[in-house]
Assembly symmetry: C2
Homo-oligomer: 345 residues x 2
């Protein structure tokens, strides 16, 4: 089985961009192994973006993907923020946190002309978007240097929308997937289908290639995704224990434990639904709480709690991103995992 | 690929038992085509059960499966019932329904010695259970006549429990599946994983054969399920339009429309979570409402509304059971669909 031409890589496998738990090291390791490594850019400053791209361009043996979010940054809403902090107040008290300790903002920037200016210097061959697509002129700039554009769809409607608005391939993100749901046409979680049901439906709806994401944890699952009609897969969770990641010790421990069997889609960590291993704050106020401010603003207050708790080696407030199948996680080099995942192709 | 020995059928495919939308006709058609047809028994009276089994035993060319629920019937709770009716009051008023029109009970009986007495006359070769397993002595009776016992697991924990308590094979029911979630160790819906993530995890956890269920809609999906480690598949939704079903015209119309793209897990129709196409009552008060009485008691009041609405050709209150992938539904004979589904094995 081949068919990775549209990705430019030897193997039709994308390492899922995972903001907060990896940098260019994982990207380079996967790309050098013949699959498509990804660099998550949503949390990078312009300087960091340029420096990551400079190193990757110099050192990476193979094409790579850069990933950006396409959300609308919401205005600061003092009332919403205040309701959120009141909900979290008992935890603030527990850790001796005062309102002054909480920064303004959520730390995640949508794709912008400033970012495109930097990208243009390096012309990365593949760019993937989460939460829709950027504005028409921004997309035109990216396409102008010949980049292949991928974007996440969580429903058939989103897949059709992305195809119609210029995506070159669509990532069908099943509900099994870890991290943020890419949903952008609806906020209704009942629209979200599992990978097994979603992939064949998206495949039959669009003419562009479909990349299966969500629950892909070993070579057999990669083969199964191809059986469902996908032309490539995107794998995130399985890479989380690789040495080239920045996965924290607490996150690693959770992934290796039986706790990883129980994940939930939660909006507590950023304001948008994302799948995490269930921890204390999810059990106590979530997983879905109406008081969480709009993405990414919920991350500010929760981030302070996380920081203080993690200093005590406690993951009660940490986003423990994880898909519904963590059995593929292995503490091996990313190149070796990439070879294992693609061994049946 | 073979491996259906443990089912006794030529093909490793089970037609999912679908109480309320099928009788022995579908069972016989599928079993005669070489797969394992199922007879849903939870809604049958003792007389109906005996007569269905008598016809099947005489006419069915091949083994078949009988399916029972294993819930605990809850005591009638007048307060809970009253809260539920108050919630539904505006709909009752809309249809001129009074409290006296609502029967007591929910119409679904768990497996019992009375049912086993009848089964014993016919000794069906396969019996499957939903919501756990029956009591030890009941299970011993079933095993006593040599029946193969299947049971649904929605989590790894449930699969291990079923293996330990005597199931001969486990049906890994992914969240993609239509109809009732078989969950019995937890009521927490965040424990429910998609088929793609669940099947490999169950396969690696238990030593008994695993049957994949949820989102299996065509021959490619059957092959994909085998890639994930399943030794058989269970397919429900795809059969719903076959002529041998009792699927109502309203349900058929919904399945054939774009509405089938949007399903939700709802407790409104019976009190237990089950996947249905989204309709008016789900949109307006659900999909999950705390006021729904315990299974199966919610069905009483909702059933009256359903009856009245359906008389007006309206599916606002009908359980439109459907998995997350209805694209496999075809208006063809069940034998033909069975051949199509097994064509890549």
């Amino acid at each position: 089985m081949t068919g990775a031409e549209f990705l430019g890589a030897r193997y039709p496998l994308i390492q899922a961009p995972m903001a907060g738990v990896q940098d260019r090291q994982l990207t380079a390791a996967v790309s050098s192994a013949g699959a498509l490594g990804s660099l998550p850019c949503a949390l990078l400053s312009p300087e960091e973006l340029r420096s990551e791209l400079a190193v990757l361009s110099a050192e990476c043996d193979g094409p790579f993907n850069v990933n950006f979010f396409c959300h609308q940054t919401p205005g600061y809403d003092a009332d919403a923020e205040s309701r959120w902090r009141e909900l979290l107040r008992p935890y603030f008290d527990e850790y001796g946190i005062s309102d002054e300790d909480v920064p303004i903002g959520g730390g995640r920037q949508p794709f912008s002309h400033d970012a495109a200016d930097i990208l243009e210097e390096f012309r990365p061959p593949v760019i993937s978007f989460h939460f829709g697509l950027p504005s028409r002129d921004l997309l035109a700039r990216v396409k102008g240097w010949g980049a292949t554009v991928l974007a996440s769809a969580t429903t058939v409607e989103e897949a059709l929308w992305l195809e119609c608005h210029g995506a070159d391939a669509v990532i069908a993100q099943g509900l099994d997937a870890g991290g943020h749901r890419g949903m952008f046409l609806s906020r209704d979680l009942t629209t979200q289908a599992g990978t097994f049901a979603l992939v064949p439906r998206v495949v039959s709806a669009v003419d562009i290639p479909v990349i299966a994401a969500g629950g892909v944890g070993n070579a057999a699952a990669v083969a199964a995704a191809f059986s469902l009609g996908a032309e490539a897969v995107q794998v995130g969770t399985a890479y989380l224990l690789c040495r080239e990641t920045l996965t924290s010790p607490l996150h690693r421990a959770a992934l290796k434990s039986n706790r990883a069997r129980h994940t939930a889609v939660t909006n507590l960590f950023s304001g948008r639904p994302a799948r995490s291993i269930v921890n204390r704050v999810i059990r106590e106020i979530g997983p879905l709480n109406d008081k969480a401010p709009s993405f990414p603003l919920a991350a500010a207050a929760m981030g302070v709690l996380r920081q203080r708790a993690e200093a005590r080696k406690c993951d009660d407030f940490s986003p423990l991103w994880c898909g519904q199948n963590a059995t593929g996680c292995k503490e091996i080099p990313a190149a070796e995992l990439t070879r294992e995942l693609t061994s049946l192709l």
